[in-house]
Symmetry: C2
């Protein structure tokens, strides 16, 4: 516990290394991370958390980098978490060392970190949430969470953000068009990046048409940008600001926060159950036994599940008394 205390104190003093260590703990699912963050939770919630998502090749990193530059020019402290869910087995964060981000490598007011999963289900969003809280405690004014793709783990991550920016590009083919329909529901603000390419205006128009079908109170704006040239960045950020102003009305932000907390909590339960099931010897043996029977088709998975759950619950109850 000495480690927990000294890291907590270093964090309170605003030491950069303490944040890095804390995020590493979270990534490794080290309980000390949650001890440090949990006891400081009341101090969190000050940072604005922006999610940036979109298909591969849409230029999310370039856009993020433009935002960093803009926010730094306003004197903000900025945190960036690049979430990389593509390597669930080894936990490598492939997108880590982005060349362009290196522009900010020596800027002490910018904290960039990439995160991968550590091989257990649900681990990525748990670790990402913790990293957001760590950067919040460090005093970041804005935290940008960048994810690649639009799968479930990205949605999990996007759910904890205050605002989600969806990055589209012209002409990525039919499948991207299909994906759009999915991201409609998570995007609060849309940009069409690489708007110097053919078809940018059409993509923006189609997006708007699709968004018109939504019947919420908020109609997500669609802005055209060329992130690589810094064009449209102010417009895009103004749209984000409009969303923030909208959410500030009528306690909408609190509502959103409650919903995302609920989603997060349910994710945490799932992760916790898996940890329980896979960390005690009798549980591990039981699971191996059941799996062998299922693989041989002498037991079906649904019956195995019933058996496993009742065992897990009984064992837990016994051991906690």
């Amino acid at each position: 516990m000495k480690d927990v205390q000294s890291l907590g104190e270093a964090l309170d003093r605003g030491e950069r290394r303490a944040v890095a260590r804390l995020i590493t703990w979270a990534e490794r699912n080290d309980p000390r991370a949650y001890e440090v963050i949990g006891t400081r939770y009341a101090k969190t919630g000050r940072a604005f958390v922006l999610g940036v998502s979109g298909p591969p090749g849409s230029g999310k990193s370039t856009l993020t980098e433009s935002f960093i530059r803009k926010l730094r020019s306003e004197g903000q402290r900025v945190g960036v978490i690049a979430v990389d869910p593509t390597s669930p087995f080894t936990g490598g964060a492939v997108l880590g060392d982005r060349v362009r981000m290196n522009d900010h490598a020596t800027d002490r007011e910018v904290f960039i970190r990439s995160m991968g999963t550590r091989g257990h289900l649900g681990g990525l969003s748990k670790a990402t949430s913790a990293a957001i809280l760590a950067l919040d405690l460090y005093g970041c004014d804005t935290i940008i969470v960048e994810t690649v793709g639009v799968g479930q783990s990205e949605v999990d991550v996007m759910r904890v953000c205050d605002c989600t920016l969806m990055v589209m590009v012209p002409g990525l083919g039919d499948e991207i068009q299909a994906i759009k329909a999915g991201v409609m529901e998570v995007g609060d603000v849309f940009v069409v990046n690489k708007s110097d390419l053919d078809g940018a205006r059409r993509t923006a128009r189609e997006l708007r048409a699709m968004l018109d079908l939504n019947h919420g109170d908020w109609r997500p704006p669609v802005e055209q940008v060329i992130a690589s040239q810094g064009e449209g960045i102010e417009l895009a950020w103004a749209a984000i600001d409009r969303y923030r102003a909208f959410m500030a009305e009528e306690e909408r932000a609190l509502q959103r926060r409650q919903e995302s907390v609920k989603y997060e909590l349910l994710g945490l339960i799932q992760t916790a159950i898996i940890e329980r099931a896979t960390q005690s010897r009798p549980h591990i043996e039981l699971i191996d036994q059941l799996c062998a029977q299922i693989a041989e088709r002498t037991l079906d998975p649904y019956r195995a599940l019933q058996h496993l759950i009742s065992t897990l619950f009984d064992l837990e109850t016994t051991s906690s008394r």
Copy 2:
């Protein structure tokens, strides 16, 4: 229970509508699906299940369609499940009605179905597994499971397949290169599609170089194809067959099956816990209460989790006695 019996009987008679109904039940997380499939589980495991994954725009559907044509020419009964995890909130399966797949719409020996999530965590892979079993019971010789993207939910889905084919394309940019490192670990066979485009040979060469770094017993082959023209389809399928032959040695297939069953079972536990937590009134109220406190920052999520878990376990034990 009459429904369960009559559907089971219709399925045993080989009625196509019964399969469709069964998959719909699974998609809605209707327990009847698991009743029908669970009692017939011993009869499953005959179909060969091929996963097809890769980034958006890589031409997975076109490739799948080429495979369907090839397998049909051999007289096989073919099932296709197009998994669409992009719309977790409404459960819409956007990729459903693919124009090209319509070629097979009137072929009674081809069963094509798209699946989306139904809004609950873990639901997609649970439903997909059930759909695979349903098509297996229907007598499909080969079942192709197509997913878009490389997120966690896709990996969950790929894990239940007998062989995973990764579809790459030339020149999709740096981010795709990064993704490759992630998919290395799930891909058993690789194809570079659209090999008439510039850089196809380079992409294939780079893939091989990356795969050489792996130290498993199986070195995944890389084949170049042009799915839209049917070129390389036989080569690609031959590579898949080599993988099957390899897996047939030394009980590797059983080992793989046991691992995937374990993974699946852990996923099922997670899903079951969420169902428990969100279906009883006192649990729902407790969760809402905890979430309100977390949102107000008077309680931290990790402490809330502890409280929730102990309550869930105790309540369950009490109610089951």
